[in-house]
C-alpha cells in the first residue's frame, strides 16, 4: 500500500505543478465552455439554451477527461522512462503493478478535479441539467468509462512510444482527432454516416452521448445511447482498451532491454 501511495503522491504533485498539464486539462476545456456557452447557442429557443449549455459543458468535461488520460498519463510514463526513473525503479525491490495503480489513481484524481471544475464553470455561465439521482449515478458510471478508455489509450501511448514529446503528441492527437470525428464537438446528425457509426462504437463518444442524454435531456442527443446493446458495447470496449493498456504497460513498459 505504501508503494501505491508513494507513486500516487509523486504523480499527483507533479501533475498539479505542471502548468502545461493544468492548462490543457482544466483551463482549455473551461475556455471552450465559456466560448461555446456564449457563441453556439444560436437561435435556439430561450428555454432550451441552458440545456444546450449543459450539453456543451458535458462535452468539454469528457474532453478534459480524455486529455488527462491520453496525454498526462503517457507524459508521466514516457518522461520517467526517458529520465532513467523506470530503470531506477526496476533495480529496486518493488512491483510494477503498484507503480501502475499509483499513477493511474493520480490521473483519475486529476480527471475528476478537471471534470468538476468544468461542470462548475458550466453551471456558472448558465448550464442546467436534468435527471434524477439514479441518472446522476449512471452518468458518473459513464464518466468512469471515459476515464478507463482514456487511461487505456494513455498507457498504450506511454508504453509504445519511447520519446516523451512523441508520447504526449500522440495522446493529444488521438484525443483531438477522435473527438472531432466522433461528434464530441459537433452535432451527431451533421456527421457523415461512417462517422456516425464510429461515434456509436467509440466508447468515449458513446459514453458522452449517454451522459448528455441522462443529464441534459434526450432532446440533446440524436440517437438513444442507452439501449442495452449500446451500453454493453461501450462498457466492453472501455474495459478492453484499459486491459490492453495495462497488459502492455506491465509487460513492456518496464522492459528496458
Amino acid at each position: 500500500m505504501r508503494e501505491i501511495s508513494a507513486a500516487y503522491t509523486k504523480t499527483i504533485k507533479e501533475l498539479l505543478r505542471e502548468k502545461a498539464a493544468l492548462f490543457w486539462t482544466i483551463a482549455w476545456p473551461i475556455i471552450w465552455v465559456l466560448i461555446g456557452s456564449f457563441s453556439f447557442t444560436g437561435s435556439a429557443p430561450q428555454e432550451v439554451i441552458p440545456y444546450i449549455k449543459g450539453s456543451i459543458a458535458i462535452s468539454m468535461m469528457v474532453f478534459a477527461l480524455m486529455i488527462a488520460g491520453m496525454s498526462n498519463l503517457p507524459a508521466s510514463i514516457a518522461g520517467d522512462r526517458a529520465n532513467g526513473l523506470l530503470a531506477k525503479l526496476k533495480s529496486m525491490p518493488i512491483k510494477a503493478y503498484k507503480d501502475f495503480v499509483g499513477r493511474i489513481s493520480a490521473v483519475i484524481t486529476l480527471s475528476l478535479l478537471a471534470a468538476a471544475l468544468v461542470i462548475v464553470v458550466g453551471i456558472a455561465v448558465g448550464a442546467r441539467f436534468t435527471g434524477s439521482g439514479l441518472g446522476i449515478i449512471q452518468a458518473i458510471g459513464f464518466v468512469f468509462l471515459v476515464i478507463c478508455a482514456s487511461a487505456g489509450v494513455g498507457l498504450m501511448a506511454g508504453t509504445l512510444i519511447k520519446n516523451l514529446q512523441g508520447a504526449i503528441m500522440t495522446g493529444v492527437g488521438i484525443a483531438v482527432i477522435t473527438s472531432a470525428i466522433s461528434g464530441l464537438f459537433a452535432p451527431y446528425e451533421v456527421l457523415p454516416v461512417p462517422l456516425q457509426i464510429f461515434s456509436r462504437v467509440y466508447p468515449i463518444s458513446s459514453a458522452q452521448a449517454s451522459i448528455v442524454h441522462l443529464l441534459a435531456g434526450s432532446d440533446m442527443v440524436a440517437y438513444n445511447p442507452l439501449t442495452y446493446g449500446q451500453i454493453t458495447l461501450s462498457v466492453a470496449l472501455s474495459f478492453l482498451i484499459l486491459l490492453v493498456g495495462t497488459v502492455l504497460y506491465s509487460r513492456l513498459g518496464w522492459r528496458l532491454d
Binding site: R2, S5, E14, R17, G84, A87, K88, S91, P93
Partner: protein, 309 residues
C-alpha cells in the same frame, strides 16, 4: 564471498555483442571503477548487475544471489537525472523511502539522515529544478544509500559537473565508503577512476586490463615526465641530467629538457639537488604523472574522450 561476481558474461543487442565474456570480481567495501569509452559496454554491465537488464549467458551474483533476488542490497544511480524537478529534494527522497516500504515516521527520520549525509539539509525544501547539477546528483546518490544497501552502482555520476562539484561529490563518496559499502563507479574520466582502489578498463565489450591505478601505469610502462626549464641550456646541464640511472631518458625541448622516468618522485628530487649543487639556475621544474587515459590509449590506441565524443 565477493560483493559482486561476474563470470563470462555475454550480452547481445541484435547482431552486436556488447559484452563479450566479461569477468569481474568486486570485494566487500571496495571502490571499483569501470572505465571505458561510450559503447564499450560498461553501462550495460552496470545495468545487468543492478537487475535492470538480463544477460544472454554467464553468471552475475550480488552477495551470492542473482541480482533480481538481491535488489534490497543494490543501490543504483543511472546516468540520467531521474529525480523529479517538480518535487523538492525532501519530497523526492520521501518518494523512494515510501517505495521501500518505510512508514511515514521512519521515512521522515531516514530522509533527514540522508539529506544530512549528502549535505543537502539546507536545500531540502527547494524544488529540484533549482538545484545545481552537483546537488541533483548528490540527491540521486542519496536515493541509493538507504539502510541495507551494500552495493552502490554509480553510472557516470560526474558527467557535466564542474571541478568543484566533482570534488564535493567524491568527498561524499568517501563518507559512503566509510559505511563499508562496495561501490562500482562507471566512468570515462581518468581522474575519477584514479580515486578507486581498483580499476577495470573495458573496450568493445571486453575487459582489457585490471588493477590498482598505480599497477596499471607500471604494468603498461607509462612514464612520468619531468620538464626542466633553465636560464641557460648548456652541455654541462645535459651531462648532469644524463648522470642519473640508465632507466631515465632525457630529451632536449625548446626551453629546456624533458626527463622520462618510471620513478618520477625520486628523480625529481635528485634533479633539483644535482642541478643546485652544480650551480645551474632552474627557472621552472614540474612533473606530469601519467593518467589512466594514457594507459587506455597505450592499450587501445584510442583516446577516451574522442571515443566518447
Amino acid at each position: 564471498m565477493f560483493a559482486i561476481h561476474v563470470e563470462n558474461l555475454i550480452k547481445t543487442y541484435g547482431r552486436r555483442r556488447v559484452l563479450d565474456g566479461v569477468n569481474l570480481d568486486v570485494r566487500e567495501s571496495e571502490f571499483y571503477a569501470l572505465m571505458g569509452p561510450n559503447g564499450s559496454g560498461k553501462t550495460t554491465l552496470a545495468s545487468i548487475i543492478a537487475a535492470v537488464k538480463t544477460q544472454d549467458s554467464g553468471i552475475v551474483e550480488v552477495y551470492g544471489s542473482k541480482p533480481a533476488q538481491a535488489k534490497e542490497f543494490i543501490g543504483y544511480v543511472p546516468q540520467e537525472n531521474f529525480s523529479s524537478p517538480k518535487l523538492s529534494g525532501r519530497e523526492n527522497l520521501m518518494y523512494f523511502a515510501n517505495l521501500l516500504g518505510h512508514s511515514r515516521k521512519q521515512a521522515n527520520h531516514l530522509v533527514d539522515e540522508m539529506l544530512q549525509s549528502v549535505g543537502l539539509s539546507e536545500e531540502a525544501d527547494k524544488r529540484v529544478a533549482k538545484y545545481s547539477g552537483g546537488m541533483r546528483k548528490k540527491l540521486e546518490v542519496a536515493t541509493a544509500i538507504f539502510p541495507g544497501i551494500k552495493v552502490l552502482i554509480l553510472d557516470e555520476p560526474t558527467t557535466g559537473l564542474d571541478p568543484a562539484a566533482r570534488r564535493s561529490f567524491f568527498s561524499m563518496i568517501q563518507e559512503i565508503m566509510d559505511r563499508k559499502t562496495s561501490i562500482i563507479l562507471i566512468t570515462h574520466i581518468g581522474s575519477d577512476a584514479e580515486l578507486a582502489s581498483r580499476v577495470g578498463l573495458i573496450d568493445s565489450g571486453k575487459m582489457i586490463a585490471e588493477g590498482t591505478p598505480d599497477e596499471l601505469k607500471r604494468k603498461h610502462a607509462i612514464e612520468d615526465v619531468i620538464t626542466v626549464e633553465m636560464a641557460v641550456k648548456t652541455d654541462s646541464v645535459l651531462t648532469v641530467l644524463k648522470g642519473f640511472s640508465i632507466d631515465e631518458r632525457v630529451a632536449e625541448s625548446e626551453a629546456g629538457y624533458k626527463i622520462y622516468s618510471r620513478n618520477g618522485d625520486r628523480v625529481l628530487a635528485d634533479v633539483v639537488r644535482s642541478l643546485d649543487q652544480a650551480g645551474h639556475k632552474v627557472l621552472r621544474i614540474e612533473m606530469a604523472r601519467p593518467s589512466l587515459e594514457d594507459v587506455f590509449f597505450r592499450l587501445t590506441e584510442k583516446h577516451l574522450q574522442e571515443a566518447t565524443g
